[in-house]
Amino acid sequence: MSKKILAVDDSASIRQMVCFTLQREGYEVIEASDGRDALSKIGASAVNMVITDLHMPNMNGVELIQALRANPSFKFTPIVMLTTESHQDKKDMGKQAGATGWIVKPFKPEQLIAVVKRLLG
C-alpha cells in the first residue's frame, strides 16, 4: 500500500507542486488549505506523514503541529514544516511544537523527496 501524506499550504501552487512531486514518487497525497482544513480532513483517515506550511489563515502551522501532537494517533507521525521565514524563531517554534523536520522555501522537488525519504524511509 502506498504511503499517505497530508500536504497543508494555503498556496495552491505549492500544494500542486508538492502533490505532483510526491505522487510521481508513488505516494498518495491529501491536500488541505490550512490547519483547520487539515484537521477536518485528517480525522477520517490515518496518514503516514504531514507536510505543512507555517503561515496560513484560520489555523497556522505551529497550531496544527501542536494539535496533531496532542492527538495520540499522530504523536509519532513525522511532520515536516515548510518555513519561509528568514528568522530562526519560527522554525524554533515549529520544532518546539513537535515538528520532525523542515524544508526552507523555496525548495526544489528533489529536496522535498529527499526530506520525505529521510523521514519515511
Binding site: 505549492i14 500542486q16 504523536k75 513525522p78 524511509g121
Partner: protein
C-alpha cells in the same frame, strides 16, 4: 503547457492584484502593520513559489523587495510615498515578467535592474544571501559536491536523546540514508535499555556507531542528522582519508576505544600488562561493553580492509593488465600441475621419514603450492562478458533477417570462467540464441495477437553456483509445444506412440540427434542439427543442459558448466590394485556390497539404497580386470543426468585433488576414460568418464536382451 507553472502564474496574478490593493491601503495608513504583513507575505509567496517553478528572475527580483518589507515590519524602515510607487512599479514589472514567460512580449531587463537597485539602496549594508542558502534543510546534492571524488572514512556516533521519538523521528531511515552514501557498517548499542519494568515505551534507549566510507564530505553526513541535531548527540570523526597508504596498520583496538573516550588511558595500560585478547579482557574486566568493543573491532576491520585495498590498488597502478599468449598460461598451469604431483610425493615421503625438519619444509611447500595453483588457475579465468558482446550483433542481424523484433539483454558479464570453457562455449550459445530467435520469438503480429509486446526479449545471463557456472538463454516467446515434440518423436521413431512421458522428458527429446520441430526449414535453423550438437559439446567438458518452458510464455535453456577443466575434485578408488578417479561432483554416496547382497538380487546388478533400487555397474568386469574380488565391495553411487547409477569398486581410498592430464594421441579414442592423473607416488590413475561407461553398459544390456529374445 506545464500545468504547475500555469497554476503559479494564475496565483501570482491574483497575489499581485491583492498586493496592489494593500499598497494603496498602506499609502493611506502608512503605519498599519497588518497591511505591511500582507504585502510581505504576498511578495514572499511570489518569490518562494517562483523559485520552485523555475521563475528564477522573478524570485531574485522579489527577494530584494521582500527584504525591504521585512525591515519595515521590524520597524527598521518607514513607509513613504516613493517606496509605495516603487513597489507598484515592481508589481507591473513582475506582471511583465510573468507574461514574458508565457511568450507574450518581453520584460525590460534594464528596468528590472533599475528597480532592484533602487530597493537595494534602501537596505542597510548587511547582505545575508549566504545565510539564505545555508539554511536549507537539504543541501543541493550535485551542485555543492567537490569535484574530486576522494573516499574518506568517518566514525559517526549517533546517540539520540530519550525523547527522540517525540517529534516523530524514526532513526531507521536516517541509518539507511547513511548507508546510501557509501559503504557503511552500523553497530547498535543496546546497553542502555533498562529492565522491562523500567522501560518507557516511548523513549529511545538505543544508540549507534556507524563506520562509513564515502566520497561525500562530512557536511553531507551532518546534513543527514540535521533534523535530529537538537534531540541527539552526534559526533562525526574522520578516521581515515585516502592518503594513509604508508601507514600499514590501523590503530589497535584499545587505542580506538581510548580515542573515543570509552576507556581511559590508565584502563588501557593496566589491561595491556596481561597478554590476552585485548577486547576480551576489556569486556571481562567491565571496562568496556561488549558492543563497544564489537564496534571498535568493526572499525578496525573496516579501515584495515580499506587500506589493504588501497595498497593493492596502488601496486596495480600503471600496469592494470598485460596480454599473455594463452599457450603460455596453459604451460604454466601444466607446470603447476606437475608441481602439485611432486608436492604430493614430498608429503608422502616426509610422512614416511618421520623427520620434523622435512615435515616442516614439506608443509610449507604444500601451502605455497596450493596458493600457486589457485593463482595459476585464476589467471586463466576470463569474464564471460568477452563472448557476450559478439552476440548482440548476431541477434541484430538475425532478427532483421527473420522479420522479428528482438530486445537482447545480458547480465552477469563479470562472471569468470576458465578460458578453455569460454572458448568452447561460443558455438553452443550461438545455436541457442538462433533457436530462440527462430523458433522461440513469434512474429510481431502473432505476438500482438497473443497480447504480448511486439518486441520479444532474449536474455543471456551468467551466474556462479558453487563450483559451477550457470549460463542461461531465455526468451519470452511461444514456449515448447509438447504435442509437436511428441508427434515428431514418434514419427522419427525416438519413442513409441503409447510412451507415457513427463513434460521434462519430452523437452529433453529436442536434445537428441536429428530432431527438429520447426514447421519449415529456415536459413537460420531447423535442419535438426543444433541442439544435439549443443548437448554433446557441453557434455564433453562436463556440463549439463536443462530446459524449462511454459507454453505461450517462453523457454529457458540453462547450461551448467564446471568452473575449470584443469583440476577437479575426485574420489580415489581402487580395483585390483589399480587406481581410478571418479569425479566427485557426480558422487552421491558410497555403500557396501557383500556377496549376500548380490545373492538377494539373483544376479541382477541392483542394489537397494534406502528403499530405492539403484542399478550398478561392476567396473572389474567392465574393464576386464583380473584379481580376486574382496568379499565386501564398495558401490560408489553417482548421479548421471537424472538417474542414480552405482559403480562397484574394491576400495574407496578418499578424496583426491586431481590434476587432469590428457591421454596421449593413441589413447584419445578410448571410451570410458576421460583422462589421467599422476598420484603422489608417481602411479597413474585413470579418470573415469561415468557418462560414457553408463551409456556403454546400457547399450550392451540392450543388445544382450535383444539377443536373448532372438534365442
Amino acid at each position: 503547457m506545464d500545468a504547475p507553472k500555469q497554476v503559479y502564474r494564475e496565483e501570482a496574478f491574483e497575489l499581485l492584484s491583492d498586493l496592489e490593493d494593500a499598497l494603496i491601503e498602506l499609502e493611506q495608513q502608512p503605519g498599519d502593520l497588518d497591511t505591511v504583513n500582507r504585502i510581505f507575505r504576498a511578495m514572499h509567496t511570489i518569490k518562494g513559489s517562483g523559485a520552485m517553478f523555475g521563475f528564477d528572475e522573478i524570485a531574485t527580483f522579489t527577494h530584494t523587495i521582500e527584504t525591504v518589507y521585512d525591515l519595515i515590519r521590524e520597524g527598521k524602515l518607514s513607509v513613504d510615498e516613493d517606496l509605495i510607487s516603487l513597489t507598484l512599479r515592481s508589481c507591473d514589472q513582475i506582471k511583465a515578467m510573468l507574461s514574458a514567460s508565457e511568450g507574450e512580449g518581453q520584460a525590460d531587463d534594464a528596468l528590472t535592474l533599475e528597480i532592484s537597485s533602487a530597493f537595494k539602496r534602501l537596505i542597510p549594508a548587511e547582505p545575508d544571501d549566504a545565510a539564505q542558502n545555508a539554511r536549507c534543510g537539504i543541501s543541493e546534492g550535485g551542485e555543492q559536491e567537490i569535484d574530486e571524488k576522494v573516499e574518506a572514512t568517518f566514525r559517526i556516533r549517533f546517540r539520540p536523546h530519550r525523547e527522540l521519538f517525540q517529534n516523530g523521528t524514526n532513526p531507521v531511515p536516517l541509518l539507511n540514508e547513511l548507508r546510501s552514501l557509501g559503504h557503511a557498517r552500523i553497530i547498535c548499542h543496546l546497553k542502555d535499555i533498562p529492565d522491562l519494568h523500567e522501560i518507557d515505551p516511548e523513549a529511545c534507549y538505543t544508540s549507534w556507531d556507524i563506520i562509513l566510507t564515502t566520497d561525500k564530505d562530512d557536511n553531507v553526513i551532518r546534513d543527514v542528522f540535521i533534523f535530529v541535531e537538537h534531540v541527539s548527540d552526534i559526533e562525526i570523526t574522520l578516521i581515515d582519508d585516502s592518503n594513509g597508504i604508508e601507514e600499514e596498520e590501523y590503530k589497535k583496538i584499545g587505542e580506538i576505544l581510548f580515542d573515543r573516550g570509552d576507556i581511559s588511558l590508565s584502563d588501557l595500560e593496566n589491561i595491556l600488562g596481561r597478554q590476552k585478547k585485548i577486547g576480551e579482557m576489556l569486556v571481562e574486566s567491565g571496562k568496556a561493553r561488549r558492543s563497544e568493543v564489537q564496534s571498535a573491532l568493526v572499525e578496525q576491520e573496516h579501515v584495515r580492509e580499506l587500506r589493504k585495498k588501497r595498497v593493492a590498488a596502488s601496486v596495480g597502478e600503471g600496469a592494470s593488465s598485460i596480454r599473455v599468449a594463452s599457450h603460455k598460461l596453459d604451460s604454466l598451469v601444466n607446470l603447476v600441475g606437475e608441481l602439485v604431483t611432486v608436492q604430493a610425493r614430498l608429503s608422502q615421503l616426509s610422512a614416511q621419514k618421520d623427520d620434523t625438519d622435512l615435515t616442516l619444509v614439506s608443509e610449507e611447500v604444500e601451502r605455497l603450492v596450493a596458493e600457486l595453483r589457485d593463482n595459476a588457475m585464476g589467471m586463466r579465468m576470463l569474464p564471460i562478458g568477452t563472448i557476450f558482446a559478439k552476440f548482440k550483433r548476431l541477434v541484430r542481424d538475425l532478427s532483421t533477417e527473420l522479420g522479428k523484433e528482438v530486445n537482447f539483454t545480458t547480465s552477469g558479464e563479470e562472471t569468470e570462467l576458465d578460458k578453455t570453457v569460454i572458448d568452447k562455449l561460443g558455438d553452443p550459445l550461438v545455436h541457442l540464441i538462433r533457436n530462440s530467435i527462430d523458433h522461440g520469438i513469434e512474429s510481431p503480429d502473432a505476438r500482438k495477437a497473443a497480447g504480448k509486446p511486439a518486441e520479444g526479449t532474449i536474455r543471456l545471463t551468467a551466474e556462479h553456483s558453487g563450483a559451477h557456472v550457470l549460463i542461461s538463454v531465455s526468451d519470452d516467446g511461444a514456449g515448447l509445444d509438447t504435442e509437436a515434440i511428441r508427434s515428431k518423436a514418434i514419427e522419427k521413431g525416438l519413442i513409441s506412440p503409447d510412451a507415457a512421458m513427463s513434460e521434462k522428458d519430452l523437452f529433453e527429446l529436442i536434445l537428441s540427434p536429428g530432431f527438429s520441430t520447426a514447421k519449415s526449414i529456415s536459413k537460420v535453423s531447423g535442419r535438426g542439427v543444433g541442439m544435439d550438437v549443443v548437448t554433446s559439446s557441453i557434455e564433453s567438458f562436463g556440463g549439463t543442459v536443462e530446459i524449462a518452458s511454459v507454453r505461450g510464455r517462453g523457454t529457458t535453456i540453462t547450461l551448467k558448466l564446471p568452473l575449470t577443466l584443469a583440476i577437479i575434485d575426485g574420489l580415489l578408488v581402487t580395483i585390483s590394485d589399480e587406481f581410478f578417479v571418479i569425479p566427485l561432483n557426480a558422487v552421491v554416496e558410497c555403500i557396501e556390497l557383500s556377496d549376500e547382497d548380490r545373492r538377494h538380487t539373483h544376479g541382477r546388478n541392483l542394489a537397494r539404497v534406502r528403499e530405492e533400487i539403484v542399478p550398478y555397474i561392476p567396473l572389474r568386469e567392465a574393464f576386464a580386470l583380473g584379481g580376486g574380488k574382496p568379499s565386501i565391495e564398495q558401490v560408489v553411487v553417482t548421479e548421471v543426468g537424472e538417474r542414480r547409477i552405482g559403480f562397484v569398486v574394491d576400495k574407496v581410498v578418499g578424496q583426491h585433488q586431481t590434476v587432469i592430464k590428457n591421454m596421449g594421441k593413441f589413447l584419445r579414442h578410448v571410451d570410458g576414460v576421460s583422462g589421467a592423473t599422476i598420484m603422489g607416488d608417481g602411479t597413474v590413475a585413470l579418470i573415469l568418464d561415468i557418462n560414457k561407461i553408463t551409456q556403454q553398459s546400457e547399450y550392451m544390456e540392450a543388445s544382450m536382451n535383444a539377443a536373448g529374445h532372438h534365442a
